[in-house]
């Protein structure tokens, strides 16, 4: 009987060793630029009720340093490569949702603050932050890390009835 037990145990070990189990894919050495891809959802629909007056443009922008400099310093951040923007052209206005893509030419990059800004006059410095990438009720910013060859997807909800605090 003991032989049978040993045989039984050996059979189990054999079976277990045959099973490979689940495993994550091998991490690849990624190279090349990164990409930040985002979706903005405007809560309340395309009418943008209660949006700050004078909707001139909406842009997405991220910064490697936080707190931010004053609005004049932001341009300098962009020129120095410490900030990124979805483009000087506005994202679509008065829509339910929209998407954007921002190439990251020199990864890795860690964005400490990423926000959606609404330009409220023809002056480029008149910006109101209407959305922040955050998972907290108080809109504490959530860092975004984009590595070489990475594509990072984010999603930001804009609620015109509950705007985040203004960083400057």
């Amino acid at each position: 009987m003991k032989d049978s037990i040993i045989l039984f145990f050996a059979l189990i070990l054999l079976l277990i060793s045959c099973g490979e189990g689940l495993a994550p894919s091998e991490p690849e050495a990624k190279v090349g630029p990164g990409l930040l891809r985002g979706t903005i959802v405007f809560k309340g629909g395309k009418d943008w009720l209660n949006a700050p007056d004078s909707v001139i443009a909406v842009r997405a922008a991220g910064f490697t340093a936080y707190p931010l400099p004053d609005s004049a310093g932001i341009v300098n951040e962009l020129l120095e490569g410490r900030a990124i923007i979805s483009g000087f052209q506005s994202l679509p206005l008065f829509v339910d949702s929209t998407t954007f893509e921002i190439p990251i030419p020199k990864p890795p990059m860690t964005l400490q603050y990423f926000a959606i800004a609404q330009q409220t006059s023809t002056d480029l410095n008149d910006q109101t932050i209407i959305g922040v990438y955050s998972d907290k009720p108080n809109f504490a910013p959530l860092p975004i890390v984009i590595g070489s060859g990475d594509t990072v997807n984010i999603r930001i909800t804009v609620d015109f009835n509950n705007l985040p605090p203004q960083p400057f």
Binding site: M1, K2, S4, I5, F8, F9, I12, L15, I16, C18, G19, E20, G21, L22, A23, P24, S25, P27, K43, D135, K136, P137, N153, R155, T157, D159, N162
Partner: protein
């Protein structure tokens, strides 16, 4: 109504003092004739009995003249059956019962399959039994961890499946009934099992009845019944202190490491139980913490359990039992993984701080009275409350919350009509009430009646069973449903020592409030209500045989069981995708699961033991003419126990489930769950070392070193969920 109650009280009082015969005797060890203290002597079928005293003596009085069959059981001994007759009033029958010392409990008493006390050899359906020892040594904290070791049963997260009855239904609508000391424990809203709401340290026995059981148990028993029985206190005080602590080892893959150090888990249970003359009481309190091997999946739990039983006379003829069972859990809101590459993290879009607070409370009263004609009246009434809600929500994030109550009242009467005919009959009312933002305020009501007759037609060892149940179900304004669930079965204990059994029965499950009315959006999935949903049905039949073969001249035995089964299911309710990409519960599938189950169990001299069960199933979706999704076709469970030295035993369990052949491809295609198709065969090996320290340190301490999933095998039981990796723990139990 008052006059009925008064009549009942008078009838009970009169029956207590009626004069009749007595059975008295002595229970001894067959080898050395030592009296056995605490042996249980029960009269078959009527749940009356006695317990032997320190001299092994017992007495059962006030029995009507007639034929009786005694079932005598004692831990560590083979259960004995003794037939005898009381010839007239005032006569006394004396017997001496010698029990055979044996670890093989081949003739265990069970009570759930036929709602009455029976020897397992007389039950015409497959029943699996788990005793207290095998439960406690495995350091299990939830009933699903126990059921994973039962032949033909598999558990996929919150869903118990017996012989392929269930697949993947978002944890809603159990197709297996769950009972705690006879009280139903399925929630009123989701119709699901709350695994954390059971007093596991006080569970003495688990019975799993396989196959449709609606003929006695009504809705939910489509695939079978799981019954848990709590311990009966002894005359001496029993104080148990059990504590455990352990860790999940870090995963082998860096991508899956989410904690700086191996995440811990620990728990403490303290229980006290004792019988004082006519009063039995049990108290249990426990707490547990589990950081989990995954992020946002941590949990903290508290349990309280109390059972008080009062016997109104000295012969256990009238017993009132009250149960209160409370559970509270504070848990992370884990649903599924981000992807296989980050299988221990939730989706990046989810709120990692979201938590779920849930509370469960069960309260019940059970009055049992044995009339002077040996008829047994069993009145049971209970309520099961469940409540859950989320907190730490993001602004405008929708909470999933529900408050539900399930009231259940049952009156059961059973007695021998003639010498060879036994009747069990009853009425049952269930009222489910749900208040939830996602369901609305809903009420579901069941009114049911059932009757079952067991007949001994004159052939030695043959028992035929015929019965059925009628259920009427109504949920608010939805269509009402009448369901008839008949059952025919038979068992024959042949002169060759082989028990043959055959059964055919119908099962059903009414759609739950959640399946009918759920309207929510959660983690990208939108669930839509469907008020037109109908009950689902099953028709299951089974042929089986079991026997016990001596392996040598000593007490070594080999127990063998084989069953072939077929379970035809219709109108199965499954979560389905509508043309708009939403999820809706619909009657979509006709299915058939047929298969064969073979079980072998030995208990050898000196503590050696080996168990193995193999279930092969062919699950077919008859509507789509393809394999029924989410089912494994092979389940193979094995157990081995080897004594290392005196008082130290090594045990190992091995579970194999073949790779699930098919999942719902639409879930993967629509991208709700990343890598939903990642699945493998399941090989899990648990090992433990059980050390009885009594002889070493002269203290009533048992230490158990546990290693679950010892080979750190990575698998998933349901889509998008990595199962627990290796867990190491130590458990100490002091029994005073």
């Amino acid at each position: 109504m008052k006059s009925i109650v008064l009549f009942l009280i008078l009838y009970i009082a009169c029956s207590i003092y009626a004069l009749a015969g007595t059975i008295q005797g002595k229970v001894i060890d067959s080898l050395d004739n030592i009296p056995l203290y605490g042996a249980t002597i029960r009269i078959e079928g009527i749940q009356i009995g006695a317990r032997s005293n320190a001299d092994g003596n017992f007495s059962i009085q006030r029995l009507k003249p007639g034929n009786y069959r005694l079932l005598i059981s004692y831990v560590g001994y083979k259960t004995e059956n003794v037939s005898l007759a009381i010839p007239s009033d005032n006569s006394t029958v004396n017997i001496i019962i010698s029990l055979l010392r044996k670890d093989v409990n081949s003739n265990a008493i069970i009570v759930s399959a036929g709602k009455r006390t029976q020897s397992i050899q007389e039950v015409p359906v497959s029943v699996a039994l788990l005793d207290q020892q095998s439960i406690q040594q495995r350091n299990v904290n939830r009933i699903d961890e126990v059921l994973r070791y039962v032949s033909g049963v598999n558990v996929a997260r919150d869903q118990v499946s017996i012989r392929g009855s269930s697949g993947f239904a978002l944890g809603i609508g159990s197709r297996v009934a769950l009972l705690l000391d006879g009280f139903p424990m399925l929630s009123a809203d989701n119709g699901d099992m709350k695994f954390d709401a059971l007093p596991m340290p006080e569970i003495q026995r688990v019975e799993v009845v396989k196959g449709a059981g609606s003929a006695l148990y009504g809705t939910g028993a489509l695939g079978g019944v799981v019954s848990l029985f709590t311990r009966t206190p002894a005359d001496t005080a029993r104080i148990m202190i059990r504590s455990y602590a352990g860790v999940y080892t870090q995963p082998a893959f860096d991508q899956w490491v989410v904690h700086d150090a191996p995440p811990p888990l620990y728990g403490l249970d303290i229980s006290y139980s004792q019988r004082f003359d006519n009063l039995e009481c049990t108290l249990l309190g426990g707490t547990r913490y589990d950081k989990s091997y995954r992020l946002t999946d941590q949990s903290r739990r508290f349990n309280l359990f109390s059972k008080i039983a009062y016997t109104f006379d000295e012969h256990d003829r009238t017993i009132l039992t009250g149960i209160i069972n409370l559970a509270h859990e504070d848990k992370g809101d884990w649903v599924f993984w981000n992807s296989l590459d980050s299988a221990t993290r939730p989706p990046t879009s989810s709120n990692a701080d979201r938590m779920t607070l849930s509370s469960k409370a069960m309260m019940g009263l059970n009055l049992r009275h044995l009339f002077k004609d040996n008829g047994l009246l069993n009145i049971r009434s209970g309520i099961f409350l469940t409540d859950f809600d989320n907190y730490n929500l993001l602004p405008n994030e929708e909470a999933v919350a529900s408050n539900a109550q399930s009231f259940n009242s049952e009156i059961q009467y059973s007695r021998s009509l003639f010498t060879d005919v036994f009747l069990t009959t009853g009425l049952n009312v269930i009222l489910n009430r749900v208040e939830a933002p996602i369901y609305g305020t809903k009420q579901q009501r069941f009114i049911s009646g059932y009757a079952q007759t067991e007949i001994k037609p004159g052939i030695e060892g043959l028992i035929m069973t015929i019965g059925g149940r009628v259920d009427h179900e109504q949920t608010d304004d939805a269509d009402q449903h009448f369901v008839i669930s008949p059952k025919i079965a038979g068992s024959w204990l042949s002169p060759f020592g082989v028990q043959f059994r055959a059964s055919i029965g119908r099962g059903f499950r009414a759609a739950t409030v959640a399946e009918r009315y759920a309207a929510l959006r959660f983690q990208g999935i939108s669930v839509q209500p469907n008020e037109a949903i109908r009950p689902e049905y099953s028709l299951s039949y089974e042929l089986g045989a079991s026997t016990a073969l001596p392996l040598s001249e000593s007490a070594d035995m080999l127990l063998m069981d084989i069953a072939v089964f077929n379970n035809a299911m219709d109108d199965l309710v499954e979560p389905s995708f509508t043309v708009t990409g939403n999820v809706q519960f619909q009657n979509v599938t006709a299915a058939r699961v047929r298969g064969i189950e073979i079980g072998l169990r030995t208990q050898l001299s000196h503590g050696f033991g080996i168990e193995s069960s193999l279930t092969y199933m062919d699950p077919v979706d008859l509507t789509q003419n393809q394999t029924l999704p989410y089912r494994s076709s092979i389940l193979w469970y094995s157990r081995l126990s080897i004594p290392i030295i005196e008082n130290i035993q090594f045990q190992t369990d091995y579970r194999y489930l073949s790779r699930v052949e098919l999942i719902d491809a639409r879930i993967a295609a629509l991208g709700f769950i990343a890598d939903a198709d990642a699945r493998v065969a399941i090989h899990v090996c648990d090992m433990r070392l059980v050390m009885n320290m009594q002889s070493m340190i002269a203290a009533p301490l048992t230490l158990t070193l546990n290693a679950k999933n010892v080979f750190d095998y990575y698998y998933s039981e349901i889509m998008g969920n990595l199962a627990p990796n290796r867990q190491l723990s130590i458990q100490g139990e002091i029994l005073l």
